[in-house]
């Protein structure tokens, strides 16, 4: 807002108390009538089709309509001066003296909302410029941590601290990828998807990164399968396995085993990630944006939504199968490019 707060027309926007001390509360009569009287309803509906301004309601009150954040709002239940000068209005002014207010004061309230809307748009524009840059700088810092740790590990391969740092930086990168993709789904969809991805190698890498986290919950990750090769985005597709494995650890039962399996059949590569969980999950709704099934655990409900978006982009499908014993299996199917000749099994 470009004016100092002392100049704002309101000093309590919640109760619409104006800076000059006057108030514009909706009276109890209006509050009841809005829900029960059809003439009230049609009055407010008619305001959506008319230009912003002052109108008289069927009972004689003044209504001031205005647009805010794409919706039409009305300040009503007041008797504003200059008046419409009708008999009903005079009667209301006598019955509800607290509602008498100047039209200029109501206009000041409207201006306040206009300024608020402008301030919001300015802030969004500013953050759209600044935040991606800040995010990018963070990623570069993380890259330096990861790559220097990797370099040092070559000369000192048994340094446990360096390995922890490297894993933490990889986890951080995964989180950055997910956050970035959620905030820019269109950008994720625009990524080239013609790189060769070995699901076997990818699963092994993700397993390696998340093993530390699984150990913290005394869980084990068993990964096995064939060397299925798919075509896809090397930036986007790893997120699918990351999300599924991270969820399996986060919402899985402590001391249990997570099983990740890759198979190939009928020109399809199939990834199955199974875990035991105490949380009930609705297999039909779990891929919707913002849907969560474990409110006590930290999370935003974006992971599975994003996994589905990425799988969709790769012309694949993702589904969730649940068993009464709490066994949850996420099944991802994507078009298979080929199976590498040397069939190997992960430890």
């Amino acid at each position: 807002v470009h004016v100092p707060p002392s100049q704002w027309p309101l000093f309590d926007p919640a109760t619409l108390i104006l800076h000059d001390g006057s108030t514009v509360p909706a009276c109890s009569f209006c509050k009841k009538a809005i829900t029960s009287k059809p003439e009230c309803k049609s009055h407010y509906e008619s305001l959506t089709r008319r230009p912003d301004g002052f109108y008289q309601c069927p009972f004689g009150f003044t209504s001031r309509s205005f647009r805010f954040l794409g919706k039409i709002w009305v300040i009503t239940g007041v008797v504003a001066h200059p008046r419409f000068d009708t008999e009903d209005e005079r009667r209301l002014a006598k019955s509800f003296p607290d509602t008498r207010v100047a039209r200029a004061a109501i206009d000041a309230v409207v201006r306040f909302f206009e300024q608020l809307e402008r301030a919001q748009a300015d802030s969004l524009e500013q953050s759209a410029k600044v935040l991606p840059q800040a995010f990018h700088e963070l990623r570069k810092l993380n890259a330096a941590v990861l790559q220097y740790a990797e370099k040092e590990l070559r000369t000192n391969p048994n340094a446990p601290n360096l390995m922890t740092i490297e894993s933490a930086a990889e986890l951080m990168r995964n989180s950055f990828d997910i956050l970035e993709a959620v905030s820019n789904i269109e950008g994720m969809r625009a990524l080239p998807r013609n790189s060769t991805i070995s699901l076997y190698d990818l699963l092994y890498k993700v397993k390696k990164v998340y093993e530390v986290r699984a150990n913290e919950r005394h869980m084990r990750i068993d990964a096995n399968g064939c060397r299925a090769i798919i075509r896809g985005s090397t930036k986007a597709f790893p997120m699918v396995l990351t999300i599924l494995l991270e969820n399996a650890i986060k919402y899985g039962k402590p001391n249990s085993t997570i099983t990740a399996n890759i198979t190939a059949s009928d020109r399809k590569a199939i990834v199955k990630i199974n875990n035991l969980s105490d949380y009930y999950i609705d297999p039909t709704k779990c891929f919707e944006r913002g849907v969560r099934f474990a409110p006590s655990t930290e999370g935003g409900g974006f992971g599975l939504f994003l996994a589905r978006e990425v799988v969709d982009c790769h012309n694949g499908t993702i589904r969730c199968e649940i068993e009464p014993d709490g066994s949850i299996t996420m099944v991802v199917t994507v078009p298979l490019e080929k199976v590498a000749a040397d069939r190997q099994y992960l430890a």
Partner: protein, 216 residues
């Protein structure tokens, strides 16, 4: 179809070589790294023996126009200012236009807006700046391998010569396969001159020298 073809299958471009050995890849591959900063990856590539030119601005287009690079790794921000406001995207567009054989790697961790996302669309793959060195190297080697594959180089030649007819393409491919089988570059050069009317041209010369490189 000859008896040989019936017995062993018709020779194809893919059957004329396969993947280059790592030594050959290091020896043959030439990489442009366009980034206003100096990422650790450049040093890593050089230490691995690759020929890397670090271009901090993307302003001097001569090397791209001469089509000398197999792979161009292009950052988004801070480069290509001379070409316009699109930064790295302008460089990607330029390289695609003048050097169809160059595989382009979008090198950024930046989240791009929908108007900027052509940077990704026009690139062959994306390399995140915060990927590990080993993984980054593997990705770049994979792109080099593709850039030097016979099929890809042939496609680049077709684009370079602006051949649109399917029949003409087929005839040229067969002539190339025969010449490759005999390792006779001059035979294919003669074909290009006689059948397609292609005289000596630097861009075509580079493609031919890459096509006839030994895989071992």
């Amino acid at each position: 179809m000859s008896i040989w073809d019936r017995l062993f299958g018709k020779p194809t471009l893919a059957s004329q070589g396969g993947d280059l050995s790592r030594d050959r890849l290091v020896q043959s591959g030439r990489i442009a790294f366009i980034d206003d900063e100096k990422p650790l990856l450049i040093e890593e590539l050089k230490q691995s023996g690759f020929s890397v030119d670090h271009d901090t601005t993307g302003d001097n287009l001569q090397n791209y126009d001469n089509q000398i690079y197999d792979v161009a790794i292009v950052d988004y921000a801070g480069v290509g200012r001379r070409l316009g406001s699109g930064q790295g995207l302008e460089i990607v567009k330029h390289i695609r236009r003048v050097s169809p054989r160059t595989r382009i790697i979008a090198y950024t961790s930046r989240s791009l807006t929908s108007s900027e996302s052509d940077f990704f669309r026009l690139s062959h793959t994306v390399l995140q700046k915060d990927l590990g060195l080993g993984d980054s190297l593997a990705l770049i080697e994979g792109e080099l391998q593709k850039a030097l594959s016979k099929e890809y180089l042939f496609d680049a030649l077709i684009t370079k010569l602006k051949i649109t007819s399917g029949e003409e393409r087929q005839r040229m491919q067969e002539a190339l396969v025969k010449a490759l089988a005999k390792r006779d570059e001059s035979q294919f050069r003669r074909y290009l001159k006689e059948a397609a009317g292609v005289a000596a041209e630097k861009g075509v010369d580079i493609l031919l020298s890459k096509l006839f490189v030994s895989t071992k």
